[in-house]
């Protein structure tokens, strides 16, 4: 059965919704979503599923929680969407609160289970449909709803104000000038080859990552720019809270900014879900065939710079390091080989996790789970014991995490399970280990 401690977590967002929802409203919303465009696929999946349970072992939550059957992907669908369909939406507010906990906390939509289902049933899509219903009902954990509200009001995830954004870029430009003389962070440079896109946690709490990228761009002599106005952040928490209208608005604004600046392509920093939002979910929702410009993830960008010899690594790490494959750029983009090329260029002693590549376990932070905030932190960490075991088995002292969610998620795992390890973005290693120009 589900974890009683998790069931007793008080989340202001969910409690408020329980108090205000009526059965009629729930029925209306559930029926409208389940009879929409996704109806065909949901019915195909639910009618085809033979309840074989083969998806269970694929799920980090299930294997981490002592193989409690309620955490198996098939059970999560049976306890949420299948009931809603069977009862034609006549479910209670308490039922929806339980469904919200399952959909927001116990599943991050990493899609690993779909690779273990013989029929390729897209369980993550079904769980995201539950989130969509929850969002339309206002049944969303308070912290992640706050990020969505921030997106709505400020266009970015963390309430970064317009002047703070520019101020942070100027501050990071000054910092980076200590590394490379005359370095600039070019703002709104029309016709630049690359637009560099970051997510809001960078200016808010990890600003040095921007300076790091400025150093790499300058040393590699890349023609680049960053936007001074809204659209700079495409970390898209609305995509995970189920607010697809805001999700689409963020992506449209992001791409419009890139098009206004007439850049050749967009380089996305080390973030998996922002990449996913910009390349897949955003364009799909907006009715576009794909993104209007090419988007290059940081891993691909570093790979190209290294292959072309535009940056040179002079100092390689010798301590054992391991690699966390982020779902959205590996299972979601197949970048695992390029990621390894980059890491091997920086490190001599790479110890792989098992399983790895597309089969790696999620960090349990992605998919909006970490954004559900402190009330759910313990639940999240209980769901990722398998990652702690994976990390420990490598014996590495450093885990390379080319994704913000993985970075924080793995950091939390290390702290909670007391592992002698720390995490790093790739850019942090590159700036320390690359050849700097003479006189810099």
């Amino acid at each position: 059965m589900a974890d009683l401690a998790d069931m007793q977590v008080v989340d202001a967002g969910l409690e408020a919704a329980v108090a205000s929802l009526t059965p009629d409203r729930i029925e209306r919303v559930v029926t409208s979503v389940l009879s929409g465009a996704v109806a065909g696929r949901l019915k195909l999946y639910l009618q085809t599923c033979v309840h074989c349970g083969l998806c269970a072992d694929a799920c980090h939550t299930y294997v981490s929680r002592n193989r409690d059957p309620d955490f198996a992907p098939v059970a999560k669908v049976q306890d949420t969407l299948a009931v809603m369909l069977k009862k034609k939406g006549r479910v209670s507010a308490e039922f929806m609160k339980n469904a919200a906990r399952i959909a927001f906390i116990e599943c991050g939509g990493c899609r690993r289970c779909s690779m273990y289902c013989p029929f390729g049933i897209d369980i993550a899509t079904m769980i995201m449909t539950v989130r969509r219903i929850c969002s339309l009902l206002g049944m969303v954990p308070q912290y992640i709803q706050d990020t969505t509200n921030s997106h709505s009001a400020t266009s970015n995830q963390m309430w970064v104000q317009a002047d703070d954004w520019i101020d942070t870029l100027m501050w990071q430009e000054e910092d980076a000038q200590l590394e490379v003389n005359g370095l600039r962070i070019p703002l709104d440079k029309e016709g630049a080859e690359f637009l560099y896109s970051v997510i809001a946690p960078e200016p808010k709490v990890m600003a040095q990552l921007i300076a790091n990228m400025a150093v790499v761009m300058t040393v590699a002599e890349v023609d680049w720019t960053m936007p001074s106005g809204d659209g700079w952040d495409n970390s898209n928490m609305a995509m995970f809270s189920g607010d697809l209208e805001i999700m689409g608005r963020i992506e449209r604004e992001h791409w419009e900014r890139a098009l206004e600046l007439r850049v050749g392509s967009v380089v996305m920093g080390e973030c998996g879900h922002a990449y996913r939002g910009a390349v897949y979910d955003g364009p799909k929702w907006l009715g576009w065939q794909g993104p209007p410009l090419p988007m290059v993830h940081a891993v691909e960008f570093y790979y190209d710079l290294l292959r072309e010899g535009r940056i040179e690594i002079t100092d390689k790490l010798t301590e054992p390091v391991t690699i966390q494959d982020p779902c959205n750029i590996v299972r979601g983009r197949g970048l695992h080989d390029k990621l390894r090329y980059v890491v091997h260029a920086l490190c001599d002693n790479v110890v792989e996790m098992d399983p790895r590549n597309e089969h790696n376990y999620c960090c349990a932070a992605g998919g909006g789970v970490i954004n559900c905030g402190p009330p759910w932190k313990l639940a999240r960490l209980k769901s990722i014991k398998i990652k702690a075991e994976q990390l420990k088995r490598t014996g590495a002292g450093l885990c390379i995490t080319p994704c913000h969610n993985c970075h924080h998620g793995v950091e939390d795992v290390i702290g909670h399970y007391n592992i002698d390890m720390h995490t790093s973005f790739i850019i942090e290693l590159i700036v320390k280990q690359m050849k700097m120009p003479a006189g810099a």
């Binding site: 065909g40 085809t48 983009r333 597309e358």
Partner: protein, 215 residues
């Protein structure tokens, strides 16, 4: 009873099966076409690539992680599909009814294959009871569907060995076969056909859109 089971019932079952499945598939394709995220991204290459890896014995990591279950499941499905088409008793009926000459399996081979279906089916039945993650999502209906799937094989096996009263058993065999066919469009036995659609979509989504493998 014998005349009904071997005559009209076969027609009813066949028509229900073919029409039911056709309606199912046409409805599914029509509704899925309304979903802008599915059909536009599908490619033949990635669909076939995924189907191939999941039809190949041990062609996916999922299958390799549980060799006993995968091997048994593979044998079960292979025998289950081949036997109704290729067992000698059926070949004789094909010939008597429509004059079609059909290749058929030697009786001993068919007998062993039937035993494989029954033993594997029994294992699946027990697994539903014993494995917590399966029992948790199994309803009484799942047991019924599994029994429907096994019915013709159990009765066929008994009939072939001429245990019990042959005439009664052969009538039961025909009835259970008809139920088997008619159940396909209305139960999860439809995965026999829907497998190809859900696999094709997932193969395209992983391969064509996300540049990754799904096996």
């Amino acid at each position: 009873m014998y005349d009904f089971a071997s005559g009209p019932l076969v027609w009813i079952a066949m028509i229900t099966f073919v029409v039911g499945m056709a309606v199912r598939i046409v409805w599914m394709i029509r509704t899925i076409k309304q979903d802008p995220t599915v059909v536009p991204v599908m490619t033949v290459r990635h669909s076939l690539r995924s189907i191939f890896h999941w039809l190949l014995p041990f062609g996916s990591r999922s299958m390799r992680t549980r060799p006993f279950f995968s091997g048994l499941s593979y044998a079960f499905h292979l025998c289950l599909v081949l036997l109704p088409l290729l067992c000698m008793g059926h070949a004789v009926l094909w010939h008597q009814s429509w004059g079609i000459r059909w290749w058929s399996l030697p009786p001993v081979v068919a007998d062993v294959m039937t035993a494989v279906v029954i033993i594997a089916g029994g294992f699946f039945f027990l697994r539903r009871i014993m494995s917590p993650e399966v029992r948790n999502v199994t309803t009484w209906w799942d047991y019924v569907v599994l029994l429907i799937a096994l019915g013709p094989f159990i009765t066929g096996f008994v009939a072939y060995h001429q245990w019990l009263d042959y005439r009664t058993i052969i009538i039961l065999h025909m009835i259970s076969g008809a139920v088997w066919l008619m159940a396909i469009p209305f139960t999860w036995l439809q995965h026999m056909f829907m497998f190809f659609f859900s696999r094709a979509f997932m193969g395209s989504e992983f391969g064509a859109v996300r540049n990754a493998r799904d096996w």
